[in-house]
Symmetry: C2
Subunit: 82 residues, 2 copies
């Protein structure tokens, strides 16, 4: 099924308490090589037909304006998957 994947992460300067908690837990297990963990969103938009360049442009617009909050999040990728 064709889909567009939108990847959204919390901004670099922002605290990410959930990621911090996961990083602490990995450290307690001895995984000291992991310096930080950040947790964001992976959103799939499913299509019942082939995805066009216009669809991808539309998805980029939705990712920036509706799916993410640009005060606290960055859209890191909008990609097509068949």
């Amino acid at each position: 099924m064709p889909k567009i994947i939108v990847e959204i992460m919390p901004k670099k300067d922002l605290l990410d308490p959930q990621g911090k908690a996961v990083a602490n837990s990995l450290h307690r297990e001895g995984k000291k090589e992991i310096t930080a963990v950040r947790i964001g969103k992976r959103i799939e938009l499913h299509f019942d037909r082939e995805i066009t360049d216009q669809d991808l442009e539309m998805a980029k617009g939705q990712a920036a304006n509706f799916l993410s909050n640009d005060v606290i999040e960055d859209v890191v990728a909008v990609t097509k998957e068949d």
Copy 2:
């Protein structure tokens, strides 16, 4: 900065109310070509050194056993990014 990206999605058979709400909202805006929306997680594990194959194996183990809940979620990808 080297990092490992873990992508986790809710299982196909599972309801995803947050994704459903986003899909409904897109439909109200006229984006009828989007048949469904699913919302999962994108987790970045940051390293302060180069990532080895062992690190990737470790991350796959953590993704399956700790970062995801295999009753309700699937790990869809574990990839390296430099």
